[in-house]
């Protein structure tokens, strides 16, 4: 059985360095209300709810169950959760809709990184035997990948700086972005990556609504139909991988049908400048494709939400008639370890 499934609404918070005055549910709730308002749906109308978050970020156990308070989960709803970026929650919701068990799905994710030290927190996702005891932080691992790209002749420090500069310039048009406009490239954080090559640490949340078939047309004047979506993972040992390439992204894109016809727009989840180089190569994006008009993850990278935001941003461009065929990419883990690719299309206008 196949069903056409579309993203019909998207909402996100402004991403901010800290949200001390808000608990996670207080940060999330406005986004849930906003995305429901866009479709006129109530919680009770939603067939399936799926979220993505990680308790490690804020150091708060079972935070995802508390976040459900913001959904209004009584009487009991059909619900699931993934401990990773919300793009993977969207994938689960998409499969749920494919089964025909539900016609609509609410997908949300949030990350409150400000209470902790994100670079250190992320070491806890690494191989606990050989890697985590060394506490290699997230910037250090991204820097190893950047140096490998420089050694391979794929980029250099000035080209990397240009990626950050371009991203933050276009982010001036994105009111939700954390860093909008030029900032100095700055000193090395971990060489060869400088401040300008690294994403800001921030708190934020995002939500989308998926709907199947005619329901999608009722809820949205121009649904962003998911023509394909797939995710793939690479070996966890960094030393086994070729860090200058992303075969998992390429394979996910193939399975999502990304190479069947050109896309006009791409939202890439590249938290570090050098990762955009890898992704452009793996996805065969040339200069005809508008990449990261939102500013991308280098302008706002709320953990667990930044990947879902890529899907939401791509869908919103389809909704507004600014794109006919868009690619959205999300990543998780160190050095682009796991990658998801979705292809979204609008119907001819």
């Amino acid at each position: 059985m196949t069903r056409d499934i579309a993203v019909v609404a998207f909402a996100q918070t402004d991403v901010r360095r800290t949200t001390d005055e808000l608990s996670e549910v207080e940060m999330l709730m406005p986004v849930l209300h906003s995305v429901l308002d866009r479709t006129g749906l109530k919680t009770a109308d939603i067939g399936f709810t799926c979220s993505g978050s990680s308790d490690y970020l804020a150091g708060r156990a079972f935070s995802f169950t508390l976040a459900l308070d913001g959904v209004g989960a009584w009487p009991p709803i059909s619900e699931s959760h993934v401990e990773t970026d919300g793009a993977w929650a969207l994938y689960e919701a998409w499969t749920k809709l494919l089964t025909g068990d539900a016609d609509t799905a609410l997908v949300y994710s949030y990350g409150k990184s400000s209470p902790g030290s994100l670079r250190d927190v992320l070491t806890r996702q690494l191989d606990p035997y050989y890697v985590a005891p060394l506490w290699p932080d997230s910037v250090a691992l991204a820097a190893l990948q950047a140096q490998a790209l420089i050694d391979a002749g794929d980029t250099d420090e000035s080209a990397l700086a240009a990626i950050g500069t371009r991203s933050r310039r276009v982010a001036t048009l994105n009111s939700h972005a954390q860093i909008r406009g030029p900032v100095p490239q700055g000193d090395y954080v971990v060489r060869p990556l400088r401040t300008g090559d690294c994403p800001p640490v921030g708190d934020g949340a995002a939500a989308v609504i998926l709907a199947a078939g005619e329901r999608a047309r009722e809820l949205c004047s121009r649904p962003a139909w998911i023509r394909g979506i797939d995710h793939r993972i690479e070996a966890h040992s960094l030393g086994v991988r070729d860090l200058t390439d992303s075969p998992s992204t390429r394979l996910a894109a193939e399975r999502a049908g990304a190479f069947e016809r050109p896309v006009d727009t791409a939202e890439l989840h590249a938290p570090f400048s050098a990762q955009e180089v890898v992704l452009r190569k793996a996805l065969r994006l040339d200069d005809s494709v508008r990449v990261n008009l939102s500013g991308g993850a280098i302008a706002a990278n709320p953990m667990m939400a930044a990947g879902l935001i890529r899907v939401g941003e791509a869908a919103a461009r389809v909704h507004r008639g600014e794109s006919d065929r868009a690619l959205a990419h999300a990543t998780s883990g160190p050095c682009l370890q796991q990658n998801l690719v979705a292809v979204l299309e609008g119907e001819p206008r």
Partner: protein, 313 residues
């Protein structure tokens, strides 16, 4: 709005992890200053070794010794070492392909500065003085001007192999409870219990979390509840908790404070444990300097009717 509360929060665990045969051999080898890889399905030697082939997922068991010398395949200069990292002075993170291996190992390289490091640099292992069978038995790498070191001839069999590791993990946070719980905690400082009412279903939540879990709406109207309440249900605790100076057995109860639509939980005192019952009317007992009631005790009022609290069970 009152100032948001903040407090340090330390999350610390010693993770005890058991090792499979391949990881055990590798880490025991490090203890004995021997580096072992494993032969993958395609014949490549993987270091550090894994138990399952990264491409085919086949079980891998064929251990092969490699040299403690090798070549840097990529690097990154870390001028500001962080807690827990291998060196406290500036160092390079490196991936090193050891002589005899086809893959690279992540570790630190002790070098005088970034100008002394490049991809292709020859390096060797600097062993830790005290070795226990852990990746940190490699203290770090250091530059090595020479040929591959000779092998020890190890077969991967050792006396007294390590069966597990204890990996300490500590993360430091600055916790803030958000708007609703900040207001709740500030009220408690005045010995008042203040919940919040849902604008839709009108239920009063104590402690408030900022949202009505039934309606999914923000709660903003503050409502003082209690101080008296009714025991809705309870249990008798017979095992003494670590770091808790309370004699067992004692009673821990759900208490619906007057005016609240959600029961909170607290200890019951001032009454023998076997006389506590559902419907018992109780009031908070505060101790000097405490930020919340030490426990609740009977008020002496008649017990509440079951119908008065059955919705709050």
């Amino acid at each position: 709005m009152s100032e948001v509360l903040k407090a340090p929060l330390v999350v610390e665990f010693p993770f005890t992890r058991s090792l499979g045969p391949v990881q055990s051999a590798f880490l025991t080898g490090l203890r004995e200053r021997v580096v072992l890889g494993v032969r993958a399905s395609d014949g490549r030697i993987l270091v550090p070794p894994v138990e399952y082939d990264p491409t085919t997922a086949d079980e891998l068991r064929d251990l092969v010794e490699v040299a403690p010398t090798g070549t840097v395949t990529t690097w990154a200069w870390n001028h500001a070492p962080r807690r827990g990292q291998p060196l406290t002075t500036p160092f390079a993170w490196v991936l090193v392909r050891l002589d005899g291996s086809d893959t690279a190992l992540l570790h630190a390289l002790d070098a005088p500065g970034p100008d002394a490091v490049h991809t292709g640099l020859r390096v060797r292992i600097r062993w830790a003085g005290e070795r226990t069978g852990a990746i940190t038995d490699i203290a770090c790498f250091e530059p090595h001007d020479g040929e591959p070191a000779r092998l020890t001839g190890s077969t991967g069999e050792f006396a007294d192999p390590v069966g597990g590791i204890v990996a300490a993990a500590r993360l430091d946070y600055t916790y803030s409870p958000g708007r609703a719980q900040t207001a709740y905690i500030n009220s408690l400082a005045d010995r008042r219990t203040v919940g919040e009412r849902c604008p839709s279903c009108r239920k009063v939540y104590v402690p408030p979390r900022g949202a009505c879990p039934t309606c999914g709406l923000p709660t903003t109207e503050q409502v003082e509840v209690g101080p008296r309440g009714t025991v809705t249900t309870f249990c008798i605790v017979n095992i003494k908790a670590k770091n808790l100076d309370i004699e067992v057995p004692y009673v821990y109860a759900h208490i619906a404070l007057d005016g609240a639509d959600l029961a909170l939980h607290a200890r019951i005192g001032g009454i023998p444990y076997d006389q506590v019952r559902m419907g018992l009317r109780v009031e908070p007992v505060w101790t000097d300097g405490a930020r919340y009631p030490d426990h609740y005790r009977p008020t002496g009022e008649p017990d509440a009717d079951y119908d008065a609290y059955k919705e709050l069970l």
